[in-house]
């Protein structure tokens, strides 16, 4: 087994990890700011993939699907927050989790009614079909695009949170919502926007994963478990943690698949168990709040 093969597999792992990072990021931002674990996150990821597919075929271009699906599903997420989740703030921390779990049943079955139970192929956009010669080997163009796009989205998110006034309000709101209200910030609107952002990121993850996985109503359940594993390893609520852990999980799956394919699905859970035994709060988690 030569080195270039391992490097190519590493790159594959980064592409896989990039989708995980985006998906887990949505989960972790919503938890960090609202204290809500969104159990419907996987279902919304799946709906994002379907919306991307539908919008792409409607407009005739993958790019419109990629742009519009996260916005549309993000708005749908805001509706969910406004109608359902908002009622549960201040109640037991388990309640939003249970509610979103029930919601995931409704969403998955709703998609089955509209699109059927069978998987639908998601065509790769024509500009990104084929492979690129990297000197040491050939790598799918689409996967390189996914890596690049996720890097850009991460950069924009980071700049928004760290350098803008909006980011300042969001970070302060996560620390102490009461003080923010006293200062005249409508914290309800901030939470609405955060939940929409989290769901939008799930949908973006779904559209990006579309051409790499088959699109079917069950695709969200595996993703939910993966996103949980990433969030747990990185530390619940930690954005840096989600990025590091997402890449870590993606790369381990990819490398293990090279040597022992039957262990590929199991390795991330083993990774999580090891991290938890050493650091129950996750790599970048803060002790006390969750662990």
């Amino acid at each position: 087994m030569d080195l270039s093969l391992i490097i190519m597999q590493l790159l594959s792992g980064i592409a896989l990890g990039a989708v995980l990072v985006i998906t887990a990021l949505g989960l972790t931002i919503v938890f960090g700011m609202l204290g809500v674990v969104n159990f419907a996150h996987g279902a919304l990821f799946m709906i994002g993939a379907y919306a991307g597919l539908y919008l792409a075929s409607l407009t005739g271009s993958f790019w419109w699907g990629l742009l519009l699906a996260p916005i549309l599903i993000g708005a749908f997420g805001m509706l969910i927050e406004f109608v359902l989740i908002r009622r549960l703030y201040g109640r037991s921390i388990d309640d939003p989790l249970l509610l979103t779990f029930g919601l995931s049943y409704v969403l998955v079955e709703g998609v089955r009614i509209v699109f059927g139970s069978d998987g639908i192929p998601f065509p790769t956009p024509p500009q990104l079909i084929g492979v690129l010669d990297l000197g040491i080997g050939f790598f799918p163009r689409y996967r390189l695009f996914v890596i690049a796009l996720v890097a850009v989205v991460l950069l924009v998110l980071w700049l928004t949170l760290e350098k803008t006034r909006v980011g300042l309000i969001v970070r302060a709101g996560a620390r102490d919502p009461t003080i923010m209200q006293v200062l005249g910030v409508d914290i309800g609107r901030v939470w609405l926007a955060i939940f929409g952002l989290g769901v939008g990121l799930a949908a973006l993850g779904g559209v990006l994963a579309g051409p790499m996985r088959s699109v079917n109503p069950e695709m969200g359940s595996l993703v939910l478990a993966e996103a949980f594993v990433v969030t747990v390893i990185g530390g619940l609520g930690s954005i840096v943690g989600a990025v590091v852990a997402g890449l870590m999980v993606g790369i381990s799956i990819s490398l293990v698949a090279l040597f022992a394919p039957e262990m590929a699905t199991i390795v991330m859970f083993a990774l999580m168990a090891v991290v938890l035994l050493i650091r129950p709060q996750g790599l970048f988690g803060v002790r006390g709040r969750t662990a």
Binding site: V37, R91, I93, G102, L103, Y105, E109, I113, M272, L276
Partner: protein, 332 residues
């Protein structure tokens, strides 16, 4: 639900009237289960209520009484079923020994998962239990020479069983029901004993206020681990019952959707109540039966009903009923 409320678990004034009846909650529950096959439209449904009732009862010890929202109970339900099936089919173990072995091995599995997951708290615990249970699912999927992989476990049949020298035809639904009911009765007696013991008070204290329980000198971490194992053991017994009942074990039993179904059942019935799990299992299964008669998409209704319960009836059917009748919380 796991709302912290000031020490209601520890104050146990004896209620009069209806409340006194619930002193005999085990006998009352057994009496209801004894006539259940004649109350429900089919014997098969009654058997399922028994099986899922026991599984959910085990889960209720963890979620209802200790306040630990696990999303991985399917691992123990499935382990009980798989171990029973493998012991009978592969090693020719007699059925009752197979059940004992299966419960023992599942409890060991619960110890391993418990050691890892009880190190975490709150929502983190839910995510970790879900992930570890999915690990069990994938292991069962990969170890197909033992478990049959995607096709599930086949090749073991329980048709004629030996009850202390008495041959019982297990294919007869009524016989089967009462044999399985004996298991349910055993599980109920066991759980009632746990809840009435000092340990039962400790786990309820942990639910109400973990810090205070720790300050009182209780070993919170070890209690959580022990309750996790007891809960896993009870749920695995339900798995054994399923294996005996179906003579196959579908892989789906280990999926996290099954864990979710268990959570739904406990909430529909009423967490923190003794008979709630059986009410929850029965209402879920009846709901599934009725709705799937006129649409294959029953899950959309079950999901919506569950959402409504979380929003408006968090104590579930049985819990709300007991509240309405004003029956003391201690005697649930």
């Amino acid at each position: 639900m796991t709302h912290p409320s000031s020490g209601e678990a520890l104050a146990k004034p004896a209620p009069g009237g209806l409340g006194r009846l619930l002193d005999h909650r085990v006998l009352l529950s057994i009496a209801v289960l004894a006539i259940l096959p004649w109350l429900l439209p089919s014997k098969a449904l009654a058997v399922n209520v028994l099986i899922y009732g026991v599984v959910v009862m085990g889960y209720n010890l963890l979620f209802g009484y200790t306040g630990l929202l696990s999303f991985g109970q399917a691992a123990f339900f499935g382990a009980g079923a798989y171990f029973t099936g493998i012991a009978i089919g592969r090693y020719g173990v007699p059925w009752f020994a197979a059940v004992a072995i299966a419960v023992f091995l599942s409890t060991c599995l619960a110890a391993v998962i418990g050691i890892i997951s009880t190190r975490t708290r709150g929502i983190y615990f839910s995510m970790v239990t879900l992930a570890l249970a999915q690990l069990v699912y994938y292991v069962a999927l990969q170890a197909s020479s033992f478990t049959g992989g995607e096709n599930g476990l086949r090749g073991f049949t329980v048709d004629r069983i030996n009850l202390f020298g008495l041959q019982v035809n297990f294919l007869d639904p009524v016989n089967k029901y009462y044999v399985l009911m004996a298991f349910a009765a055993l599980a109920m007696w066991f759980q009632s004993r746990i809840l009435n013991s000092p340990f039962g008070a400790v786990i309820e204290a942990i639910r109400e206020n973990e810090q205070r329980a720790r300050a009182c000198g209780y070993d919170v971490e070890r209690s959580k681990l022990v309750v996790f194992m007891l809960s896993g053991a009870t749920s695995s017994l339900g798995g054994c019952m399923l294996a005996l009942h179906l003579s196959i074990v579908p892989l789906d039993i280990l999926h996290y959707q099954t864990s979710g179904m268990i959570v739904m059942m406990v909430l529909l019935g009423g967490a923190r109540s003794f008979f709630g799990p059986f009410v929850g299992a029965a209402s879920f299964l009846i709901l599934e039966d009725v709705i799937s008669l006129w649409t294959p998409h029953w899950q959309i209704f079950v999901g919506a009903i569950f959402v409504l319960f979380v929003l408006f009836l968090p104590k579930g059917i049985w819990g709300t009923l007991l509240d309405t009748l004003g029956i003391g919380k201690a005697r649930r």
